[in-house]
Amino acid sequence: MNVENVIKGVVCPFCGCCCDDLEVTVRNNEIAKVENACALGRAKFERWNEGRIVRPSIRSDGKILETSFAKAVERSARILYDARYPLLWGWSCTSCEAQKIGVELAEEVGGVIDSTTSTCHGPSIIAVHDVGESSTTLGEVRHRADLVIYWGCNPLHAHPRHMSRYSVLSEGRFRKRRGERKMIVVDVRRTATAKIADEFIKIEPNSDYEALTALRMCLKGEELEQESIAGVPSKKFEELIDEMVGCQFGVIFFGLGLTMSAGKSRNVDAALSLVRDLNSKTKFVIVPMRGHFNVTGANEVFAWQTGYPFAVDLSQGYPRYNPGETSGVDIATRHDCDAALVVGSDPISNFPLEAARNLSSIPIICIDPHETATTSVSDTVIPSAIVGIEAEGTVYRMDGVPLLLRKLIDPPEGVSKDTEILEAILNEVRRIRGGR
């Protein structure tokens, strides 16, 4: 018997857009069809069952042995309990409910909890500490923006529905047609997004700071003494500022082009300062293009529970924060940590070489639905249900709007939710501590 169900208003668990209008057809506990998703979201739904881990495993004598949930939990708890400086890493691809247990677990074992923010928009948050941020939820951009600048990001590839749902290709109350908006792309190469922009400004690699400073100078009416800055004729900056000042509602969307090129948080500092300064002339906002679908949620949960948005060190019994010192990549690079819990992330692939190498030399507990480079070197692997497909949970969109992910189908037999796994490890750690 084919039982088919079409579920509407499904929130996509892929990127920071968190599109909430997907329609998923479920048949016999499988994803049969998905509509309204972009290629990335579609792939996540359609290939949800590929490369799945279905049984927990433990590494013993260099061999990987399947084991029971209870034994894997016991081993994980023991590793974390014994550790003197464990790193609890990942969190961007799971629910807020799981993130909360993560914080509790980090506090219980006296470790550091950090999310992939550290490798992505950490510099943006660091810049906010100094400057602040003039921002908005995405609907305001859709309704009002007549000037949209994508700086150092490529939404056509990384956030495919961003433009049609939230910016230049969308319909807003005050901007009905494409022609009512101008789209500018600033990047170091002509990306796919740049190709469809009204204007593309190519800047030299690693000179975003100079370009933003030039704009700030023009805004102040100061003369630019150099003829070209960042590989762009100075006159161009004057023109661009005129456009920015002349618009009714401008927005800068920015990505890793700013956060990960030379200057990092200071690049973002300059962008935030520019937008702040523009507000003395017109309405202007800035929005970071968050990558993973719940990295924003991790920032929110950590911040309200500990006061700090990422890189939270709970080793001394209270929250401490100093990215660069307490951030996951740096901790791994310096080989500070002696154990790691990785949730829904693949640091062995994503970390710089030295950090990855150091990580692979300590016991890792990895909780993930799929096989990854990290699971392949982990001491203990516990398979988990895919949040947004096989498990429900709260997520926060890139602009801080909270949404609920649904459970559409059951996970494979024997596979638990992140929250159940983490809760079990937490309880086991408490049991070990109580027994001493």
Binding site: G9, E107, R144, W304, Q305, T306, Y308, P402, L403
Partner: protein
């Protein structure tokens, strides 16, 4: 579990009890007539017993609170709490983390706190944080004063539909009351502008702030909501704004049966003068109005001389504050609804403006004759952290305490305030009214703010003897005692002893389960289903917060709306 609190000096203004030695009996989390002999005895001899504190306005949870936490790691560095066997770790000062917030309120004997400015699209975030705020009961006020649907319905004279919309919204956001912040001004701010008074026109919407406030006041009555509209008027923070405040209070006077409007953090909207150098207190005028009119209540918004953080839904005001002070600034507009801004601030004794502000808050409380109309707040953290409430109490109870602070502040401001001449000193009964009985009554929380039979057993016991102490002289002792409750009882459980957390419980989240007649309900549903995605970037079904999302949901059904 039975509890008998014996021999305490009870102050329960709602039931006409003023420092009488009485026993309070508790069973099943409620106050009862009597208990059996197996009840646990709590000896409150020589101590002051009051209902648990009810804070009517404190920004403790949600999107802008979290934006402030992220903006200000430097605020948390020196003020932190370690984890203990019972309590979670956290950070404090002006933007504490959620666990720390709950513990600190409980330690002061507060048991109910209202989060007063929730953007509906992000109400889920507010509830997420409230769920993680231990011990205290709470509720939140969703923002409506710049809401597109509201402005359109009111402009078109569709009062019934507006009521149906509000009713749906209160259920969708699990909210408790109608909050209005700078009506119309925040929509103007979404274009970078503002409004300048009740009769400005909101760009593109063809409606005035006056019409928004009156319309929502009518809707409030139709829905029979337990609290009046809770209003942060236009022109907050602008010299001369006391006139706007009076006009705002006046504009709903004809709609009154009982209270029809609550003006919040009134200090910030009681400014006389043309500019900062000619700033004066407008408290006398405001107080005169409040004294003569029974349809108004206010809360103080008292400032403390300290470093703190401003955060409000008044986006344009926060931008102005940033421009004046040069301090870092966060702004977050919320589509089709509202906005928020955050700017750190330092209130300095030697600043003429800050000293005048300090005086205004106290003048309001001392000039308004009926303590049932004025409540103690600092608009946490805008005026100062809630942990400073005991200090405010000492200023209200002791002229000497006021003089001492005045002697150390800007003398030009000190000379210009009438505070010198105000002899009034609050009694314990009056303090109980402005921190518990009055606020609970204004909120319509019938089981809070009093110690009569049937009330929730939320009780605070302080280590001072109201019969022996002279608060006017020994205000420091009063402050000390109020900072760390001898006992805080929550729903009949002893959660705090000598200022230490003894038990952690999950507080309730109150919300209004508002209903309108069925045909109206269906009509609004049809309308919203059609237009929702035009207004918002999320769907109606995803906007709605389910009851299960609240850790301890406590709906209040107020009957079907009168439309």
């Amino acid at each position: 579990m039975e509890l008998l609190i014996k021999n305490g000096y009870v102050v329960d203004p709602a039931n006409g009890i003023d420092c009488e030695k009485l026993d309070i009996a508790v069973r099943g989390g409620k106050i009862v007539e009597e208990v059996s002999s197996s009840a646990k005895i709590l000896d409150a001899s020589n101590m002051l017993v009051m209902p648990g504190g009810v804070d009517i306005h404190s920004h403790i949870a949600g999107s802008k609170t979290n934006l402030a936490r992220v903006l200000r790691p430097e605020d948390h560095f020196r003020d932190f709490e370690r984890r203990t066997a019972l309590t979670r770790s956290g950070v404090g000062h002006s933007v504490p983390s959620t666990y720390t917030t709950g513990y600190r309120y409980a330690r002061m004997g507060y048991t109910t706190v209202i989060e007063p400015a929730t953007p509906p699209l992000k109400a889920r975030h507010t509830h997420d944080e409230l769920n993680d705020t231990p011990i205290i009961d709470k509720a939140c006020f969703p923002l409506f004063g710049n809401n597109w649907h509201v402005m359109e319905y009111l402009k078109n004279g569709d009062l019934e539909l507006c009521a149906a919309y509000l009713s749906w919204m209160l259920r969708a956001t699990k909210g408790y009351a109608i909050k209005i912040v700078n009506p119309g001004g925040v929509e103007a701010w979404h274009w970078g502008g503002n409004v300048v008074g009740l009769d400005s026109e909101v760009p593109h919407f063809g409606i005035t702030p006056r019409e928004i406030v009156r319309g929502l006041c009518k809707v409030n009555k139709m829905l029979k909501l337990p609290h009046a509209i809770h209003v942060h008027p236009n022109n907050l923070g602008k010299p001369g704004n006391y006139l706007t405040t009076i006009k705002t209070m006046e504009c709903v006077k004809d709609l009154a049966e009982g209270a029809s409007i609550h003006i919040t953090h009134c200090q910030f909207t009681s400014f006389k003068g043309e500019d900062w150098s000619t700033l004066r207190s407008g408290a006398q005028e405001i107080a005169r109005y409040v004294n003569r009119n029974d349809h108004v209540t206010i809360d103080m918004g008292q400032i403390i001389f300290t470093a703190t953080t401003t955060m409000t839904g008044d986006g344009p005001f926060e931008y102005i504050l940033h421009q004046i002070s040069g301090r870092k600034w966060v702004n977050k507009d919320v589509e089709a609804e509202t906005g928020a801004g955050v700017v750190p601030v330092v209130y300095k004794r030697r600043s003429f403006v800050n000293a005048t502000q300090w005086a205004i808050g106290l003048e309001l409380a001392l000039l308004i004759e009926d303590p049932w109309k004025v409540y103690l707040t600092t608009d946490h953290p805008n005026g100062g952290p809630f942990t400073a409430y005991p200090r405010v109490v000492s200023w209200l109870m002791s002229k000497r305490a006021r003089e001492r602070t005045m002697s150390r502040m800007n003398q030009s401001a000190a000379r210009k305030t009438i505070l010198q001449s105000l002899e009034r000193e609050y009694s314990f009964e009056e303090i109980a009214i402005v921190t518990r009985a009055g606020t609970a009554k204004a909120l319509g929380l019938k089981a809070k703010g009093h110690l009569g039979v049937g009330a929730d057993a939320d009780i605070s016991i302080y280590r001072i003897n109201p019969k022996e102490i002279d608060p006017s002289r020994d205000y420091r002792a009063v402050r000390k005692a109020l900072r760390r409750a001898a006992y805080t009882v929550k729903d009949g459980q002893i959660v705090v002893k000598d200022g230490e957390i003894k038990e952690v419980v999950q507080g309730r989240t109150f919300w209004i389960d508002s209903r309108v007649p069925k045909d109206l309900e269906e009509k609004i549903h049809r309308e919203l289903s059609k237009s929702f995605r035009e207004y918002y970037t999320v769907g109606m079904e995803n906007y709605f917060i389910g009851e299960g999302e609240l850790a301890r949901s406590s709906p209040i059904y107020v009957g079907e709306a009168k439309v």
